[in-house]
Symmetry: C2
Subunit: 548 residues, 2 copies
């Protein structure tokens, strides 16, 4: 499957409302409207057209940008209406021809990114008071309904034809892979037998039944639709917390992208393609960071914690989409641990300020993106590193960590940010997840520095080789890891990284996506006579009927 | 992959300690020993030999039988030692050649069954006080260690060579698929980075390090091993609750198996191969059931609740392994609802009696097997049916239910067994899972009968067509379901059936198994140059390095 793919131009994730192709962002505080108006002839890659407000990765990159930007640039906005600029069509979901012509790896990463975007909509509601409303003004199918499901409220136009539907199973022999099945049962709590009928019924459900089945919150006649959406948006905004002061513009990152890697101000990715290994280095603040909420806002998107984690996010996405053969990522840090700790402390102290709050939640989301990136991460803790506080999370997120043991060697240290504000998808801090079996150990003292031996004894690093063995041991670990099957590692990491409790979020990635990945390989979907392959063609899919 | 498989003789699940090939069951109350001594030349199907105490489905069928039988036939046993009869080898896991030559569907169902057996060992510990001890007297690899992980305690011989290991990732490019990764992190709570090292390290971990990493509870020199195992087994037995009275022998079921279906005393499976549909009918008690604990024990394995659910279990396994193309199973019942309700009530009232307790937990496990069977279940509630109490669970477990609405039509009713004693893998009753969104509805009145319209209004059935539409509507629903992609349905059902909380048990089937199923299809494992395919051959596996 994968080998037939032609080389593709790299995907870039930076964008801005001024240059959106497929969305209009209209801000009329306290309400913002995101209007989906997909341009058929502007797909991310040539080979398909984006009919009927269907989306591809390019469309979703703009949506993700808009949701993130609203939180930083528009504190005055407290309700977000997501709707369509097309007549009688809200959104028909992910573009099928795009899926049908994509490699397995691209499909999987596409779904992962769109899932993260939908979770970001929910995160904005939960943590920024940016309540969201899907104004479903027409047909709403598959990924279109999954987008609506990510909103706090769903209003469906009652025009005798507009329905919400999940036609994936019946039409394409795949699953609604962007959280649909999970959110239907676990968020909207649709009864499982009704969810079964709904999810196997191509034409979907409309009108009163859609409300009775809990699939939407309200249906509204077309004549009253616009007015009712405004009413509900105003009500959501009125109930949301007020965030005061002006917004903080997110400046473009302007990284340098080459085959050999990526260079950002605080983050560098150095790729060694033959060995399939990359070194990802995050640098701490170059000087002291602002001390007050006001000063932080003035620093704006140049604030170290915001800029460095935006750059890290960008590099993780670059790895996922543009460097599929890099199997091992070595995580390094450079700089002053004291400055990282000080920056963390200000963020923590000011966490009731909306901007500091946004910076913290952004860091959290980027670290979750790391947890979910299907590459092996090895943290390498050397002299000159600053694995402290928020940057220590990189080592805690890594599959393993190596810390050199020598006189005057590196230290690691904990800030308040390690103890809760940056939870994983399972709802626990990385420390709490690490010490599921020894909960007392998760209560590490803030500020105290650990040398290699102390860190090893406290269970905070995996290995602490001494100076003499250091280089060999790290090199061997990397080589060994890079030699293993990429698929087996992906499955192993997807299990071991998410010890402990499960949440709707982990269910989406652990249960739903794992099944979807399986189905995305089955001949019944992607084989010569599979339903995804034959979509839009006159021929009918032919199935192998064996049940597994 | 699947089409190349030659037709296989059907698998049968009935066995008895007297005819075990691969295990010895030695009972010396209060301790029982299950000694694994796999006969190389007695595989379930020709084509591979079972070297080094590796196992296939035949080996696991005996293990499952032994664990189930101990609970009923040996109430005097309170500790189970699982060990090996081979020198220096405990168990080397699932047989690789068997896996390499099996269809994908067989691999998946093999893993599912072995997972259920390991969960049954844990269930016996939790609910029968049958504590288990893995006496690991030699090398313990892969599925061998996963078997040990299912026990309450693991003792490893300390002979400088015996290690516990999960070599699947490094050696075979697949996952430990029988709960290994999940139990390492979630049951034994091994630190995730140590779990990562352990699970990617072919040679495993032994001695003191195995204890430090929480992989085993204790290591014991060979000279003291037998003695120490006895000590620990005695201690486990001493702490377990006493179950008094003599055991209840489980008589063979002696069903009739044909291409057209299976005939048991209380359960019938009628197969219509061309339409890929089977009708599974469970009949209620033919006469009044015993009223006291004593009378129940005297009735023994002829007790309706025990016999009917053993037969149901047998038919579900027959469907999974011998009838892979049956996509839709219509669930029906026949008989007197009053008698089912009365039988339920006695079980519930006597639940502190060990035998009644065992019957209840057996019913629970069989219903869980149904939840996990990858076929579409449609409950059809007609005149003459007895969907009441424990048999109503069939309708609640079904993906949908249809109840005919007519004068004097069928009724459904709830007994105490619907309100908690028969939980799903997610820890909730099927009623509570059904009404996640409307918890008040889960408190249905016991004993009250619901006609079709009342059941529909109360949300207890999916559809209640009237007499005139009944046959057409049910026929169409079945035909439509049978026409959909088997894989998409498997994935959809695996998501919708497990709404709500996740447990270690649901993680094993939802997260780990879904990833394993994915990997079991990847060319890096099962392709021409895949690691599973080339195992034991001189050629080295060659991987496609794309990460997904």
């Amino acid at each position: 499957m994968d080998h037939a793919a032609p080389p593709q131009p790299p995907v870039r994730f930076g964008t801005h409302p001024d240059v959106y192709v497929h969305w209009r962002l209209e801000v009329e505080a306290p309400v913002a409207r995101l209007v989906m108006d997909v341009q058929e002839e502007r797909p991310l890659r040539p080979g398909y057209t984006l009919k009927t407000n269907s989306y591809d990765l390019g469309v979703d990159i703009e949506l993700a940008d808009a949701v993130g930007r609203l939180r930083f640039e528009h504190p005055e906005v407290r309700a977000l209406v997501i709707t369509s600029g097309k007549d009688r069509i809200f959104c028909s979901g992910a573009n099928i021809y795009m899926l049908g012509t994509s490699t397995h790896a691209f499909k999987v990463n596409f779904c992962k990114f769109t899932n993260e975007t939908r979770l970001a909509i929910e995160d904005a509601s939960a943590h920024s008071g940016l309540k969201s409303l899907a104004a479903v003004n027409g047909a709403c199918a598959g990924g279109g309904y999954e987008l609506a499901l990510a909103c706090d409220e769903i209003l469906l136009v009652d025009d005798s034809s507009s329905a919400v539907s999940l036609p994936e199973v019946s039409l394409l022999a795949v699953l609604p892979g962007t959280g649909g099945l999970t959110r239907v049962t676990d968020k909207r709590k649709v009864r499982r037998d009704l969810a079964d009928v709904f999810s196997s019924l191509g034409e979907g459900v409309k009108g009163k039944r859609a409300v009775q089945w809990r699939l939407v919150d309200e249906t509204v006649p077309l004549s009253r639709f616009r007015e009712r959406v405004s009413e509900r948006a105003a009500a959501l905004a009125a109930a949301a917390p007020v965030r005061s002061g002006s917004g903080v513009a997110l400046a473009p990152l302007e990284g340098s992208y080459k085959e050999s890697g990526v260079e950002h101000r605080h983050v560098t990715l150095a790729v060694d393609a033959p060995s399939r290994v990359a070194v990802l280095t995050v640098r701490g603040p170059a000087a002291d960071e602002p001390q007050t909420a006001q000063a932080m806002r003035e620093r704006g998107s140049d604030l170290w914690a915001l800029r460095a984690f935006r750059e890290l996010d960008d590099v993780l996405l670059d790895l996922r989409f543009n460097r599929p053969e890099i199997g091992v990522v070595v995580l390094k840090t450079q700089g002053s641990a004291a400055r990282v700790m000080a920056a963390d402390q200000v963020l923590f102290d000011q966490r009731n300020d909306w901007f500091a709050n946004e910076v913290l939640h952004h860091m959290k989301r980027v670290l979750k993106r790391l947890d979910l990136t299907a590459r092996s991460f090895l943290a390498v803790i050397e002299e000159g590193s600053c694995f402290a506080g928020s940057l220590l999370e990189l080592a805690l997120a890594a599959d393993r960590s190596y810390m050199v043991s020598k006189n005057g060697g590196p230290e690691i240290a904990f800030s308040s940010l390690n103890l809760g504000p940056l939870p994983m998808a399972n709802g626990l801090s990385r420390l709490a997840t690490r010490f599921l079996g020894e909960p007392a150990r998760a209560g590490v003292p803030q500020g105290e520095a650990f040398g290699a031996e102390e860190a090893l004894t406290a269970g905070l690093v995996t290995f602490a080789p001494d100076d003499i063995d250091w280089e060999d041991e790290v090199r061997l670990a990397i080589e060994e890891r890079a030699s293993l099957s990429p698929d087996a590692l992906t499955g192993m990491e997807a299990n071991l990284r998410f010890a402990g409790p499960e949440t709707m979020e982990t269910k989406v990635f652990g249960r739903l996506s794992a099944w979807q990945n399986w189905i995305f390989q089955r001949p019944n979907a992607v084989g010569e006579t599979g339903a995804l392959t034959l979509y839009g063609k006159p021929e009918r899919a032919r199935f192998n009927w064996t049940r597994t």
